[in-house]
C-alpha cells in the first residue's frame, strides 16, 4: 500500500513537469492553431542559454532575466520570419514548418553554446521528505507548487489583462478579432513569447533534474500524449493530462513493467493516449467541432 501511494505521488509530481511543457503547446495552439513541435527545442535553447549566462559569471536572477529577454527576441524573430509568411496555410504545413524550426533551433543552440551535458543548479535541493511513512521528493514538491503559481498567473493574465482578453478573442475567431482592430501579428508574437517563457521555466526544471543536454529537446515527445488526453485547447486539460500521464507511467512501470521486462515508459504514455482516443477523441477538455463541407 505504501509502495502504491508513494508511486502515485511520485508520478503525480513528475506529471507536473509534463504539464509545464504541455501548457506551452496549448498556448500557441489556442492562439494560432499551430501545433508547435519546436516547444522542446525552445526548452533546450532556454536552458542552454541560462547555463551559458551562469557560466559567464552572472548570478542567478539576472541570468534568468537575460535569458527571458533572449527568448522573447527569439519568439519575435520566429513569428516574423517563419509564421507570418505561412499565415493561412493549412495546419499540417505549419506543423512541418515547426519541425524545420526545431532543427534550426537545436542546431543553433548546440552550435553556439556547445553540445556536452552541463549541470544546472537552480538552488533547489532534492531532499527526501517523509509524510507519515510515505517518501516524497522535495524537489518535485517545490516544482509542483511553482507550476501551480505559474498556472494561476497565466489564468489571471488571460482573464484580466487587455492583452490576455484580445488573445482569447483571436483564439475564438481570428477574423472577427482582426476586424475590431486587434493586431493579430502582435498577438502571435506575445503568445510565442509567453510560451517561450513557459519553456524557460520548464527548461530550468527539467535541466536541473536531468542535466542540460540534447535530450531536453525530446521532452516534447512526452508532451504529445498529455495533449491527447487533455485536449489541444485547454490549459486545465494540459494539467490534468500531465498528472494522469505521470501517475499512469509511474504505476505502469512499477506494476506492469516487471511482467514484460521493464522499460515501458517510452511508449506507455502513448498507449494510454491511444486508449483515450478511442473513447473521447477530443480529449477530456476539448471541444467538438462541426465540420462543414
Amino acid at each position: 500500500m505504501i509502495l502504491f501511494v508513494e508511486t502515485l505521488i511520485g508520478g503525480l509530481l513528475a506529471g507536473t513537469m509534463y504539464s509545464l511543457v504541455a501548457i506551452g503547446f496549448v498556448l500557441i495552439f489556442k492562439a494560432s492553431g499551430v501545433f508547435n513541435y519546436s516547444q522542446g527545442a525552445l526548452l533546450l535553447f532556454s536552458a542552454l542559454a541560462l547555463v551559458t549566462f551562469l557560466e559567464m559569471g552572472l548570478s542567478f536572477w539576472p541570468a534568468v532575466l537575460v535569458t527571458m529577454v533572449v527568448m522573447v527576441i527569439l519568439s519575435i524573430i520566429i513569428e516574423r520570419v517563419v509564421l507570418r509568411p505561412l499565415a493561412n496555410r493549412n495546419v499540417m504545413t505549419l506543423f512541418m514548418a515547426t519541425l524545420g524550426l526545431t532543427y534550426v533551433i537545436e542546431g543553433a543552440a548546440q552550435g553556439l553554446m556547445g553540445s556536452e551535458v552541463r549541470l544546472l543548479d537552480i538552488g533547489l535541493e532534492d531532499n527526501a521528505l517523509f509524510w507519515g511513512d510515505i517518501l516524497i521528493s522535495e524537489f518535485d514538491l517545490i516544482v509542483a507548487c511553482g507550476a501551480a503559481v505559474l498556472v494561476i498567473a497565466l489564468a489571471i493574465f488571460f482573464s484580466k489583462t487587455r492583452i490576455g482578453i484580445s488573445l482569447r478573442a483571436v483564439a475564438d475567431d481570428a477574423a472577427a478579432a482582426q476586424s475590431i482592430g486587434i493586431n493579430i501579428n502582435r498577438i502571435w508574437q506575445i503568445v510565442w513569447a509567453v510560451a517561450a517563457v513557459v519553456g524557460l521555466i520548464s527548461g530550468m526544471v527539467w535541466g536541473a533534474r536531468q542535466g542540460v543536454a540534447f535530450s531536453l529537446s525530446l521532452v516534447v515527445l512526452k508532451a504529445l500524449p498529455v495533449l491527447i488526453i487533455g485536449g489541444f485547447t485547454s490549459i486545465m486539460g494540459a494539467i490534468v493530462g500531465g498528472l494522469l500521464i505521470g501517475a499512469g507511467e509511474a504505476l505502469a512501470e512499477t506494476y506492469l513493467g516487471p511482467l514484460v521486462g521493464g522499460g515501458i515508459t517510452p511508449w506507455f504514455a502513448y498507449v494510454l493516449a491511444l486508449a483515450f482516443l478511442f473513447i473521447r477523441p477530443v480529449g477530456l477538455f476539448g471541444e467538438y467541432k462541426v465540420e462543414r463541407v
Binding site: 501545433f35 520570419v81 517563419v82 509568411p85 505561412l86 496555410r89 493549412n90 495546419v91 499540417m92 504545413t93 506543423f95 512541418m96 514548418a97 519541425l99 524545420g100 524550426l101 526545431t102 532543427y103 534550426v104 533551433i105 537545436e106 542546431g107 543553433a108 548546440q110 552550435g111 553540445s115 515527445l221 504529445l224 500524449p225 491527447i228 489541444f232 514484460v260 521486462g261 522499460g263 515501458i264 517510452p266 511508449w267 502513448y270 498507449v271 493516449a273 491511444l274 482516443l277 478511442f278 477523441p281 465540420e291 463541407v293
Partner: protein, 356 residues
C-alpha cells in the same frame, strides 16, 4: 484538417503536360533508367554502393510515406518504426523461418510490415490530423522498444544487432558483390515504383486524393473513407517495410534498432517535403538531395576549411541548414524540387517552341 498536400486549385499546368509532354517525359524516364543501369559499369564501387544505392532505398521509403501523407493526407512520424518492422521481419523469416530466397523474404517482410501498418492505421477511422500523428509516434516508440527488449528478434545474440545469413538469389549470393546488390535493389525499386504509379493513377489513388482534399466531401460522394485510409496505411507500411529491409541488409549489412529511430522518420518526412508532396519522382529527387547534401557539405568543409572544423560543429550546422531549407521550401515552394524542375522543363519547352 488533414489536407497535407492539398492544392487549392487543380494543377492545370500538370494536366496540360500529361498530354503534350508525354513523349518528352517517357524519354527522360528511359534515359534515367539507362543511366541507373550503367552506374556500376561506369562508376566506382563507392559511388554505386554508398551514393546511388542508399538514395534509391530512401526514395522508396519516401514513396511509402508519400502514399500515406502526400496522396491520402495522413501525416505520420512512424516511418522509421515501419522500416524497422520490415528489417526485423526479414531477419526473423530468414533465421527462424528458414526462408532464404531473398526476393520472397523481402516481399513477405513487406507484407508483415503492411499488416502492422494496417493495425496502427485503425485509429484513423475515428480520428484525424494530429491525433493520427500521435498514433504513428506510438508505433515508432513501441517497435524501438520491442525489437530491443526481446532477444528472439536478434536471435539471442550478445549484442542486439542483426545481419542476414547467406541468402539465395537464383544461385547467387546476395551478400556477394556490390554489383548484385545494386541490380537487385534497382530491379525491386523500379518494379515497386511502377506499381505505385499505376495504383495512384487508378481509382484507388483518386479516392485517396479525394479523402486528402476533404474527407467529409469524399464521404458524401460515396467514397468509403475508412476502407481507403486503412488501405493507404497498409500499402505505405508495405513500401516502408521493404525499404527498411533493403536499408538494413543491402546498404548497411549489419543493422539494429539504432538505424530506424525517430530521426529516420523525420528524414523520410523531409525527403517528401523537399522532393515534392504527391509526386512519385519527387521522392527520389528529395532522397538524393537529403542524402547527398551532408556529403557535399562534408567535402567542402574538408577541402576549403581543412580539418580544423570539429565534426560536432559540422553536424550542428547541417541540422541548422536542413531546418532552414525545410522552412524555406514550405514558404516558397510547398510542392518541392519536383515542381521547380517541372517549371524549368516547361520554360525550356516554351523557349524551344518559340525558336522553332
Amino acid at each position: 484538417m488533414n489536407s497535407v498536400g492539398a492544392k487549392p486549385t487543380p494543377d492545370l499546368n500538370a494536366i496540360g503536360q500529361a498530354g503534350s509532354g508525354r513523349g518528352t517525359q517517357s524519354w527522360a524516364f528511359l534515359a534515367l533508367l539507362a543511366a541507373l543501369v550503367l552506374v556500376p559499369l561506369i562508376t566506382t564501387e563507392y559511388v554505386t554502393q554508398v551514393v546511388v544505392l542508399p538514395v534509391l532505398v530512401l526514395g522508396l521509403a519516401g514513396l511509402g510515406l508519400n502514399i500515406l501523407t502526400g496522396y491520402a493526407g495522413q501525416i505520420s512520424l512512424g516511418s522509421g518504426g515501419f522500416m524497422a518492422v520490415g528489417a526485423y521481419a526479414a531477419y526473423v523469416l530468414a533465421i527462424h523461418g528458414g526462408i532464404t530466397f531473398f526476393p520472397l523474404t523481402l516481399l513477405l517482410a513487406g507484407v508483415i510490415a503492411g499488416l502492422v501498418g494496417w493495425v496502427f492505421g485503425l485509429p484513423s477511422i475515428r480520428i484525424k490530423g494530429f491525433y493520427v500523428m500521435v498514433t504513428s509516434l506510438a508505433a515508432q516508440f513501441f517497435f524501438e522498444w520491442l525489437f530491443l527488449k526481446f532477444p528472439w528478434f536478434y536471435n539471442y545474440g550478445d549484442v542486439p544487432t542483426i545481419s542476414l545469413p547467406p541468402m539465395g538469389l537464383f544461385g547467387l549470393d546476395i551478400n556477394g558483390s556490390y554489383v548484385i546488390k545494386y541490380y537487385f535493389t534497382l530491379a525491386f525499386v523500379v518494379a515497386l515504383t511502377w506499381m505505385a504509379s499505376n495504383l495512384i493513377k487508378s481509382h484507388v489513388g483518386r479516392n485517396w486524393m479525394a479523402i486528402r482534399d476533404m474527407d467529409t466531401a469524399a464521404g458524401v460522394i460515396g467514397i468509403d473513407s475508412k476502407k481507403y485510409k486503412a488501405l493507404a496505411f497498409t500499402i505505405s507500411a508495405f513500401y516502408l517495410g521493404i525499404a527498411g529491409a533493403l536499408w538494413g541488409f543491402i546498404f548497411l549489412g549489419t543493422t539494429s534498432v539504432g538505424s530506424f529511430q525517430i530521426d529516420r522518420s523525420f528524414q523520410i518526412l523531409f525527403i517528401i517535403i523537399i522532393g515534392g508532396m504527391s509526386s512519385i519522382r519527387g521522392n527520389y529527387i528529395g532522397a538524393a538531395f537529403i542524402f547527398l547534401l551532408p556529403l557535399v557539405i562534408d567535402y567542402f568543409a574538408k577541402t576549403f576549411i581543412g580539418d580544423t572544423v570539429s565534426p560536432g560543429v559540422l553536424s550542428n550546422f547541417q541540422k541548422f541548414l536542413f531546418g532552414a531549407l525545410i522552412i524555406i521550401f514550405l514558404i516558397k515552394e510547398p510542392d518541392g524540387i519536383d515542381k521547380l524542375l517541372r517549371q524549368l522543363m516547361g520554360r525550356v519547352r516554351r523557349w524551344g517552341r518559340k525558336r522553332a
